[in-house]
Amino acid sequence: MAFNSELAKKLVEIYSPSGNENNIRNFIMDEIKDYVDEIEIDPLGNLIGRKKGKGKKIMIAAHMDQIGLMVTDIDDEGFLRFTNIGGISPFISLGQKVIFENGTVGVIFSEPVDNMGKLKLENMFIDIGVSNKEEAVEKINIGDICVYESGFSENDNVIFSKCLDDRIGCFVAIEAIKKIKSSNNDLYFVFTVQEEVGLRGARTSAYKINPSLSIAIDVTSTGDTPKAKRFAVGLNKGTAIKVKDNSILTHPKVKNLMIEIAEENNIPYQMEVLEFGGTDSGAIHLTRDGVPTGAISIPTRYVHSTVEMASKKDINSSVDLLVKLLEKSIEK
């Protein structure tokens, strides 16, 4: 199966930090509108595309927000101070280019620090290349949010870019929407908001939909880089079926169903036991009286950097697994 690089590239290049997901929502809406029966946007901004079926309600969640930096202060010289939206590392941020919604570009640097180990976001600033506060406020206000700016690259094997977390999950969901031939299930594809700040969009959309089963699609870390912390997930070893992270212990029935389908269809897979982090599945499975929930993870190196890296084969395996799972009639 060929890899749809064009779609992946478009998805990662759209500006949409948590709390301001307009652009990506519009893009995805356009991509899926011909393939779903209903489209809805809920109060927090989640995009819900429904493919109607007579069977059980299944919710598929991929988050469309990305980590960012919010401006909290503008000084007299026009330097911007900021706080993080989601998991922003000071070390990765140092020297990065950032871009605002209106296209204003800046660079992140820091006050002089004696010990780089003690670098903190509160000692860092964004320089947008203006001479004073007046010039700055013509472009930027307190409360505006910027995101890392970096290109999309690929080779035969992998893609690398910012915000594969979780635009690549959105990619998997979109590809699945297009590829599903027939399903008896009532499918709700939810492109969630505000995952990076606490699984917030998934929580409210799951309440609204009240599904019988749910699958979240997100990236996971890997343990296959030099001297990485021991972790059995690696690139090119297939899609990852989540067993646990800090937000969920996958429902055994859902986990076993995913394994069974992967085996039946010769889809390469690996098991993921993550000792930290969480995904939308964590919020979804605790909704109302509980929702059996699983997660399909795309092994990704260097998560929350500008050079996140994932394997094309793993991404395609994730699409295959999701499609086969959703085409199967879910009874209980």
């Binding site: 059995a232 036991v273 000792e275 109302r288 509980g290």
Partner: protein, 353 residues
């Protein structure tokens, strides 16, 4: 079945958070004959219902009793060449308690293994002062990797191999008494309720995933939407190194929790029931949301008036937890008398702020 026998069966059984289905049948078969209805829900909570006998009123009060059936444990993270299993924890485990333990790896079948330790002869002096980290431990199954791979998968659960032992007097020691002692208390309570009449419908819930964040209590409370929620969990039993005000004495009755998580009117009623029936009790103060299922129940839906009762337990989260059977008996008694004291007529008054 005697209390002690059921406690032994449950303590010796295995059901780490997320893997409680392994003890589901055991619990269902114990509660079944005393319940009007029994079911498991979406996340695996077991809900046994004993209907009120004193009124035909359709709007009978619902009381939910929650004791969690999960236990802390380990999980397979990798299978290495040489047949060693790497693992991580589920729930709060002190890594220092793991060295030299016998374990059971729950693969396609149960495999016996040991968590080895480096012989003291090969250790540097300084090394001995530091505890061993979990990532440096492994489980030796005595098998080759390829044989293991057919039986064990990444993500399988692991428990400590331990059987309940009787100590002096009424004390017993075993693993997972946190909170299988609570489940046994529910069992004692439902049996007692079969011998008396009572107004409210009682939902006996053996909850899942308490040890990873009271998850089962949240969803089962949503499902049941009770008028009163009561968590039955364990409390820190007193030992010489712990401050007196943070602990409960063994054998001196259940701890009744005070604090923001607890409805003040119901708690006063609970205390007065204990006094009226001469059931020994102790007080336990917790300033905010407790570390028990009561935490999740209180904030369910429109808010649920909640109580928390603790069975004193020593050495919490080790494989040699100790409880006093008398405390279990007294907790069950207290619950039973409390239930029999609640009716549609007096509830509103008790809940009034």
């Amino acid at each position: 079945m005697k209390t002690e026998d059921f406690l032994k069966i449950l303590s010796d059984s295995h059901g780490v958070s997320g893997y409680e289905y392994k003890i589901k049948d055991t619990i269902i078969s114990a509660f079944d004959k005393y319940s009007d209805e029994i079911r498991t829900d979406n996340l695996g909570n077991i809900i046994a219902i004993k209907k009120g006998t004193l009124s035909n009123n359709k709007d009978r009060i619902k009381i939910m009793l929650a004791a969690h059936m999960d236990e802390i444990g380990l999980i397979v993270t990798d299978i290495e060449d040489g047949g060693f299993i790497r693992f991580s924890t589920i729930g709060g485990i002190d890594p220092r308690t793991l060295l030299g333990q016998e374990v059971i790896v729950h693969g396609k079948k149960n495999l016996f293994g040991i968590i080895g330790a480096k012989p003291p002869h090969l250790q540097e002096e300084a090394e001995r002062n530091n505890s061993v980290k979990i990532e440096d431990m492994s489980i030796d199954l005595g098998l080759d990797r390829k044989d293991i791979k057919n039986i064990v998968q990444i993500g399988d659960s692991i428990t400590i191999k331990r059987e309940l032992i009787k100590l002096q007097g009424n004390r017993v020691t075993g693993k997972a008494l946190d909170d299988r002692a609570g489940v046994v208390t529910l069992y004692e309570c439902i049996r007692k309720l079969n011998t008396i009449n009572h107004h409210p419908d009682i939902y006996f819930v053996s909850t899942v995933q308490e040890e990873v964040g009271c998850r089962g209590a949240a969803t089962s409370a949503y499902n049941i939407n009770p008028d009163i929620g009561i968590a039955i969990d364990v409390g820190f039993g007193s030992t010489p190194e712990l401050p007196k005000e943070d602990t409960l004495e063994m054998g001196k009755g259940p701890g009744i929790t005070l604090g923001g998580n607890i409805h003040p009117g119901l708690r006063e009623k609970l205390v007065s029931v204990a006094k009226d029936y001469n059931i020994p009790f102790q007080l336990e103060v917790d300033p905010g949301p407790t570390g028990t299922d009561a935490r999740a129940i209180q904030i369910t839906r429109q808010g649920i008036p909640t109580l928390c009762i603790s069975i004193p337990l020593r050495y919490m989260h080790t494989s040699v937890e100790v409880v006093d059977l008398k405390d279990i008996e007294n907790t069950a008694k207290l619950l039973t008398f409390f239930i029999s004291s609640i009716s549609n007529e007096n509830l509103e008054g008790l809940l009034c702020y």
